[in-house]
Symmetry: C2
């Protein structure tokens, strides 16, 4: 799971089950104007970039087109005060893509917010789960 790189695991990162067991998702999204600065898809992409060190490979690992991944990164770079990724030595095509310090902080804070949400929301979520058929 990519999020392990940051030491925080949430249920969002668990593999989908094909059973009837209920699936609980707590999704955080921060929007600025019409742009989603960070949300589930973008944080997954940042984690994949962190793991594989390449935007192309990260997009592929998520079943996403390179163009789509590039647009998500571009939106994040415009929303945050500094870029979330940087090109590694070797140039735009040869050296891969790494998270910047800011990119890493966004991922870590996002996953910690999610983990906190699951932890403190758990009694209430469990109460709802008990009401399911």
């Amino acid at each position: 799971m990519p999020s392990d790189a940051f030491g925080v695991t949430t249920r969002d990162n668990m593999p989908a089950k094909r059973t009837a067991a209920p699936d609980v998702r707590f999704r955080l999204r921060i929007t600025v104007g019409d742009a989603i600065a960070i949300g589930p898809g973008k944080v997954d992409l940042l984690e994949a970039i962190h793991t594989v060190g390449s935007l192309t490979a990260a997009a592929r690992s998520l079943g996403m087109s390179y163009r789509r991944a590039w647009l998500l990164v571009d939106t994040m770079n415009k929303c945050f005060s500094a870029p979330v990724v940087r090109t590694a030595a070797g140039g735009a095509r040869g050296g891969g893509t790494l998270l910047t310090e800011l990119g890493r902080e966004v991922v870590e804070r996002y996953r910690r917010a999610e983990a906190a949400a699951y932890a403190t929301g758990k009694p209430h979520i469990d109460a709802i789960l008990k009401l399911l058929r």
Copy 2:
């Protein structure tokens, strides 16, 4: 705001702003198989029913068709161990629709889970907001 009926207010319930101020949403969704048992749209509908006492009026207040609202309620009724709404005295057309005890508990637990998420996630969310342009 409909959620005030339950004494819990979250940012999800606040009116959308047309300014550049960041919007933070923490959305809880519980899925059973292919069906969403409860999520942002369904809990809004339950709150609207609680407030206006009618499925037709609740749908209208949310800009939703009666058919759509009925399908959301039907899905919830199938996912939970008992119905989330009941028809009030007066019959299916005359007497309106009320939440059952179970329906009220689902709404209250859902909003409390959300409120807990915002409260404990706040330091991390604030840290992300500080990184925005």
